[in-house]
């Protein structure tokens, strides 16, 4: 799998690629993510989505790096896709339409990072309580949690 295959099929979708320790990652234009994923699933046999997560590059901008782990059983190959989204508009199209497995993973990223997935069937918090403030895996969120002030009443 090379960036050329994707770039040839969907021009303008690949903005970079890197091979590190034998693992390939492609940087994808966020607006084209669903298109690229559908192409990889249908044409390149990446029928499994192993996971979706995010990396917070705070205070750099664009701040969030959404990472997709793809796996092709037939070719015995793994691929990472990355999308950079800025903190001002942390919105991305959901890939649940391509792989239903993305459902919980995207909910997790939404819950812990506060990145919103457009067209997600059920975008709710998954780990934290519904009424929780903040997104714990953001770098500006303290490890020990928020400080509560207790008063007499």
């Amino acid at each position: 799998m090379s960036e050329n295959d994707v770039a040839a099929a969907i021009p303008g979708s690949v903005v970079g690629s890197k091979v590190h320790r034998g693992q390939t990652s492609l940087a994808i234009e966020p607006a084209r993510i669903v298109e690229v994923c559908r192409f990889l699933r249908d044409e390149q046999q990446f029928i499994r989505l192993s996971g979706v997560t995010a990396v917070d590059r705070y205070p750099l901008e664009p701040r969030f790096e959404i990472v997709y782990f793809l796996h092709s059983l037939e070719r015995n190959e793994r691929l990472r896709l990355k999308c950079l989204v800025p903190s001002g508009e942390a919105v991305l199209d959901s890939v649940t339409g391509v792989w239903p497995a993305a459902n919980w993973y995207e909910r997790e990223v939404f819950d812990l990072f506060g990145v919103v997935f457009r067209n997600h069937p059920d975008l709710r918090r998954i780990m934290m309580p519904e009424d929780w403030d903040g997104h714990p895996l953001r770098k500006d969120y303290p490890v020990t949690g928020p400080k509560y002030e207790y008063t007499q009443e």
Binding site: Q23, S25, I47, R48, G51, D56, L73, A101, L137, Y141
Partner: protein
């Protein structure tokens, strides 16, 4: 409305299917942990099922970012607490790949051997609790009898029964103890006959067969699309095992089979896991017989703590020890996604390093997370009682789902 019309309306209302929403869990004996299932029922049939997870969320991924690389090993034990050593292994392999460390063969084989004992341990807990959910009490006692012996072996190696943290970055935590060959050998020679005992209780047992055959099926494509991995896919006919397809820690040197079935029901999953018990025993036996000699840690003084003896005699060793303990070791910038075959399926650690001594981000892909996502597909349209069987057959660990 006339009286006749009213009567008809009343009859229709009473015969029309009435839906009921049933909460199963978070405190329910069959959910083994704190999983909440919301079942929408029509009579005894499940129309819609959903899982509510997160009750055991402890923020382990956040905690990783605050720890030094070597300190974080102890956190990995607590994620999937039924297979701590395989969690250790996956994390260590990821960091070792980032460091580009060469692990000596003895440590690699030791990791394979103890990893397979962990798999046996985990499958035994599964078999015991799953069969107890379906009413076969004695299997539980049989399984825990052997599990106890495995825990004793772990205690012998690491000093701990469950949270072993025995695999460290660069090799093993301690030199293998004196007499370990006899302890493992004694256990593994007797183990195949114990598996026969479990099979005698279950495999041809008519109650067991009726409760499990044809239950919890879903098509292979559906399972893959929903993120299910491991024995569940093998029971549905996919011959895929990461130990074979992407070998790590010298698994390519071992001879074992990947058991598969095609039925994809709860019974097939049981058969696959029981066969895996036998295959794991084979691997342990091979590792025991062919264990290479040599060091159990890599030759990397900046990563691995020095011997106590050397520390007392060599200045350099003392300095390295001081530096590793106080400020850790720096890991080159980069990122690695390492996968291993855990008893439940594909376990992956995504470690991102920014060049400092603490991980910038660690994402843990737990197999149970994906397996639970596929659960509604297996229970919808079936009876409530079958949900218990299907739930048990996914073999989830909530620590692994919620992290």
């Amino acid at each position: 409305m006339s009286e006749a019309d009213a009567n008809i309306a009343q009859t229709q209302a009473s015969t029309a299917p009435r839906r009921m929403t049933l909460n199963m869990g978070p405190q329910h004996p069959s959910t083994h942990g704190v999983l909440r299932m919301v079942l929408e029922l029509e009579g005894e049939t499940i129309v819609k099922a959903g899982c509510d997870v997160g009750y055991l969320h402890t923020g382990i991924e956040k905690e990783f970012e605050a720890k030094l690389y070597q300190q974080a090993v102890t956190l990995t034990d607590r994620i999937d607490y039924l297979c701590p050593l395989i969690n250790n292994l996956c994390y260590c392999l990821a960091v070792e790949k980032l460091l580009d460390l060469e692990i000596p063969p003895r440590a690699q084989w030791m990791r394979v051997m103890l990893g397979e004992l962990t798999r046996i341990n985990s499958h035994l807990v599964w078999l015991g609790t799953h069969s107890m959910d379906l009413g076969a009490m004695s299997v539980f006692l049989y399984c825990f009898r052997e599990r106890e012996q495995i825990l004793r072996i772990f205690e012998m190696f690491s000093g701990q029964r469950m949270m072993t943290s025995y695999f460290r970055i660069g090799g093993l935590a301690l030199e293998p103890p004196r007499g370990w060959q006899q302890a493992v050998g004694k256990f593994i020679d007797a183990f195949p006959s114990k598996v026969d005992e479990y099979e005698e209780l279950l495999t041809k047992n008519p109650i067991w067969m009726r409760r499990t055959q044809g239950v919890g099926c879903a098509s292979l494509d559906d399972l893959i699309a929903h993120g299910v991995t491991g024995p569940m896919l093998r029971a549905a006919g996919l011959k895929w095992d990461i130990r074979k397809s992407e070998p790590y820690s010298s698994y390519e040197k071992f001879d074992f089979e990947i058991p598969t079935r095609t039925e994809g029901d709860v019974y097939a999953r049981y058969q696959v896991r029981v066969e895996e018990l036998r295959q794991s025993a084979r691997i342990v036996k091979q590792a025991l017989d062919g264990m290479p000699e040599g060091r159990w840690v890599a030759n990397a003084p900046h990563v691995v703590l020095p011997d106590r003896e050397k520390m007392k005699t060599e200045m350099e060793a003392l300095i390295y020890h001081f530096k590793i303990v106080t400020e850790g070791f720096r890991v080159p910038e980069g990122e690695v996604y390492q996968v291993v075959e855990s008893p439940r399926g594909e376990m992956g650690y995504y470690v991102v390093s920014d060049g400092t001594a603490r991980p910038y981000r660690v994402f843990i892909h737990g197999p149970s997370f994906g397996n639970l996502q596929g659960l509604p597909k297996m229970v919808e349209g079936r009876l409530v009682a079958d949900a218990i069987a299907a739930l048990g057959s996914t073999d989830f660990v909530l620590g692994d789902v919620d992290r």
